[in-house]
């Protein structure tokens, strides 16, 4: 009997999948991708019957740009960092989104007041606040744990390899903060050549001990394999490895760089209407709060805040692990999207040259 039932369901499943509509959502993979599948994709499929296909990229902004420029768009919804969304929107590579389609928060606050300031732009609806911070292997520093961003650069007190993302963004800011620059002055300094030189000089001090990573899933892996003893990372990935998988990782939010990230629709998306439907659904109060149960990224709607409670393990309070919790904001820097939209090309060029030497 049971077997027949499964078989029928399976057959129904085939028939269904053949006829069903599909949309493709491109995101960052790993623990973050999983949180989106659980909080957005699955409920959306249940509600509408539209199949959501997940696709991963190191940074979805780049393949999207390539696709649109080449006139070859296969993705309907894309998860991009705020600075990239601004840049792509300026270049006409993203569909403009009418903010009036976003519903009010569950507490009745109009959408534009409910979202964090600036979180909804012409082309982007922010879903989360994430942070680039650093994590360390607790077993290697059992006696004395690092607590400040300066400790990350202190190879004498805290020996061992370091992991850093292979790009200029966030690395330069963190290097300056490690060098003693207060968060508020970082971007003013980076606008000048001396500031950039100073950041690279700081990076020079640990260059020989660095293992470079590119995909967000790599840093927890590097720590777990013992390839590095400390690494910068996206905070949610570390949280999931530490709390979800019980890895002995400690997080340091001192000197973190936090930023918005959200959904946009590439120009010429094959299923524009379905894409909008998905985007609206995913950015409702409940869904944003639901995602925070799977990974420690702050929801972009204020009305989601009170709904965030425990991690999916049912016992870990999410609040203190969010990049935006008061304790974690003591010495923290909001990423400056204008700066990076402008200077990314130039600084990455210099970063590459520095790296190759």
């Amino acid at each position: 009997m049971k077997k027949t039932l499964i078989l029928t369901t399976a057959l129904a499943g085939f028939a269904f999948s053949a006829a069903a509509e599909e949309i493709t959502v491109m995101s960052w993979g790993g623990a973050y991708g999983k949180s989106q599948i659980e909080a957005y994709h699955k409920p959306f499929m249940e509600k509408t019957g539209i199949k959501v296909i997940s696709v991963d990229a190191d940074n979805p902004a780049t393949p999207i740009k390539a696709q649109v420029e080449a006139g070859n768009v296969t993705v309907d919804v894309v998860d991009v960092e705020y600075a990239d969304a601004v840049r792509l929107c300026d270049e006409g590579l993203l569909e403009e989104i009418d903010p009036s389609i976003l519903p009010a928060g569950s507490d009745g606050t109009p959408a534009m007041d409910d979202f964090l300031p600036g979180a909804v732009t012409d082309c982007l609806v922010t879903t989360i606040v994430f942070s680039t911070m650093y994590a360390y292997d607790m077993e290697k520093f059992a006696d004395m744990a690092p607590t400040t961003i300066a400790d990350f650069y202190d190879l004498e007190k805290f020996p061992g390899k370091r992991g850093l993302r292979k790009s200029a963004k966030a690395n330069l800011e963190m290097a300056l903060m490690a060098d003693g620059v207060p968060a508020g002055e970082v971007y003013d300094l980076l606008e000048t050549d001396e500031g950039v030189d100073r950041a690279f000089a700081k990076l020079d001090t640990i260059k020989d001990s660095v293992v470079w990573w590119e995909a967000g899933a790599q840093p927890p892996q590097l720590l777990a394999d013992g390839e590095v003893s400390m690494t910068t990372a996206y905070n949610g990935r570390i949280f999931n490895a530490a709390v979800g998988e019980g890895q002995p990782f400690g997080s340091v939010f001192d000197g973190q760089v936090y930023e918005y990230d959200g959904y946009a629709i590439p120009k010429g998306a094959p299923n524009l209407e379905r894409a909008l439907e998905f985007l609206v659904f995913a950015t409702e109060t409940e869904q944003l709060a639901e995602q925070a149960k799977w990974i420690s990224y702050g929801p972009a709607r204020k009305s989601s805040g009170p709904l965030v409670g425990l991690y999916q393990d049912g016992k870990t309070e999410m609040g203190p692990h969010m990049p935006t919790s008061a304790d974690n904001l003591v010495n923290a820097l909001p990423s400056n999207f204008e700066f990076w939209a402008d200077r990314n090309t130039d600084l990455n060029e210099r970063f590459n040259a520095w790296l190759a030497k």
């Binding site: 399976a10 999948s17 493709t24 993979g29 296909i53 296969t74 995909a215 899933a217 790599q218």
Partner: protein, 303 residues
Amino acid sequence: MALPTYASPLERLWYYVYRAICALIFLFLIAPILIVIPLSFNAEPYFTFTEKMLSFDPTGYSTRWYDLLLTFGMGKPDAVRDAAWWSDVWQNAAWVNAAKNSVIIGFFSTLLATFLGTLAALGLSRPEMPFRRVIMAILISPMIVPIIITATGLFFFYSATGLANTYLGIIMAHATLGIPFVIITVTATLVGFDKTLNQAAASLGANPTTTFFKITMPLILPGVISGALFAFVTSFDEVVVVLFVAAYDQQTIPRQMWNGIREQISPAILSVATILVIVSIALLTTVELLRRRSERLRGISPG
């Protein structure tokens, strides 16, 4: 090369040292390929031999990573393993889909490369072929030109012509990459080909078509098949073109491995690697048997 009787003691010493050096070099060649096989049966998610593995404790070994190849990407991996579970594997498992794509793309690109390549090799090996050297150089060049350049060019070209993200596009690109191998192997067979056989067939009243299928084809067949195998392996192992011009549902095995190696190199990668090593052993054996057959047909003794 036996040691001659007149060798001096120093030469005797060198004789053994030389053998030892060669043994080390052979070890360098083969060890990295064999090492992945036992490690793919590691029960732990590490890349080194655990104590249990070294003491041959059966609990140190497991096939969990092979299992993961089936379950990864499935809808309901934990369900009972009945027909529905297997159809889920067939439909959704990431590695199974990659294997399907690899086989489809490999098969058609091999077919295309072998057909066009053999035809061209027949033309190129005729003495009256005009511009032989230049044309040969052009046809071999896909093997020489760095793959990143080919892939970059294809990205621009396919985007402009609508071939990007299509199976046809990848198949054509892979066929192009496989063609040099077909040409090289088939021309090599044709070099030793005795043309009087064709004349004999013609004098006995066979028309060119009959001559081709009854005389030429059987003789060059070993060369054609090994060329085809080379072309298949080229496609089966190719990742850069797929990275540049394939859509997301056209992931092949190497593309899937590329992701795995860069992000989280789990022993699952090693189990794929093991399967691929077995495939390459099978291919190598086939090619070797073909070569011997070809030599026998052409009357060269295997020594």
